[in-house]
Amino acid sequence: MNRITRAALAAPAMGLVGVLALGGPAFAADGSVQAQLSQLNGSGASGTSMVTVSGTTITVNLAARGLVADQPHAAHIHFGADARHECPTMADDTDKNGHLNTTEGGPAYGPVVVSLTKTGDTSAKSVLAIDRYDTANGGKISYERGSITVSQEVADAISNGQAVVVVHGVDYNHDGKYSGTAKSDLDPKLPTEATDPAICGVLSASQMGAMPNGGAATGDGSTTGIEYAGLIAAGSIALLTGAALVSRRRLVPTRR
């Protein structure tokens, strides 16, 4: 990978570090955290995620676009007590091959603590249960799953802005599928394209003290449609009647 591409990759990751620095004071409590997901490995993808914490139960929303279309994308929440609680940068590319694989991201985001599967187990055991993750129809994913149970430590880490959402699956050779001779660092039966991170974002506390459910009911429609229907109708009848009388009068003189 050339230098320009490396710089382009590092920029969004550094932006995330900036966002982190602006975050408010850490707190551990029920509430919601959110992340803007930025591209890694030049994936061109992006997304948002929101996690609501209630005790040791979490609800996860994840929306992404620009992913490798019609391919499954493993997605996880990562946390490690000794991790940096960040998304990796090219400085984490320890083998200097120009790509960040999942293992190289470890010092930044830590190990998998939640597998964002559609069904069944959500623990780290399902990290590579590719058949239970969302497939990106048209490159898009829209994921929501509630009632996910986590440990108290993980719940606190999420509330404290220390957890990181990562979606995996890239297409370096642009053939529209997971391929290539480079094998995954997680499973040698898979190409590295299937497991390298595509988008990443740190879950940080919402700036909203309370998140409204949807938009606002701000109108009653009183300025739409016809407001003075009665007046207009009565006037119109009078107008027509008057017009008819006038034309009758006019008819009379012409006969003379």
Binding site: G18, V19, L22, Q34, Q36, T48, M50, A63, S204, S206, Q207, M208, G209, A210, M211, P212, N213, G214, G215, A216, A217, T218, G219, D220, G221, S222, T223, T224, G225, I226, E227, Y228, A229, L231, I232, A234, G235, S236, I237, A238, L239, L240, T241, G242, A243, L245, V246
Partner: protein, 204 residues
Amino acid sequence: MLLLVGGGTAVGIGLLKQQPAPPAPRPAGSLTSHASSAAPSPSGPATPVGDKPIRPVELQIPSIGVRSRLTVVGLNPDGTLAVPKPGKDYDKAAWFNGSPTPGQIGPAVIEGHVDGKVNGPSVFYRLGSLKPGRRVDVRRADGSQVHFVVYAVRLYPKNAFPTQTVYGNTTRPELRLITCGGPYDKKRQGGGYPDNVVVFAYRT
């Protein structure tokens, strides 16, 4: 003849007093309610310096003739955004007390009715015609003013409201102005307007 004059006058008054439907965001072509679900891309200089919370007291949008004392709203028990109730505050704009105060980093939310039974057009009747680049000013309880500039005006369907786009974290002090919009249908459940007009602005 009397009928002609009287009837004409009645029709004239009826038509003159007829209030047109509230304006939709323009340019309309690219902003239909279904084509605009993408997040607007913020532009302009970043000013990532936030103030301490100071309660907002007045909103001014000179280009559409809005000047309103601000009332305060919270959430309804079902988690939806409360709106100013019928009465003296109905036609005032309202700051949502679960959002940052204008001038703090984050999306400060101010909403207002588009219309109402008593007075017809309400405080945000013309919000949909607001243009990017226009000024929005908020006066605060300590007398200070915060100046914002509009960078996007969007129409979103209420049943697919992009919560993260509108209420998600920002890296600078921003403002969201929200009212109702879209074709009115009195049979529609939960209010006759299917859409929300959302104005995005950042602090200058």
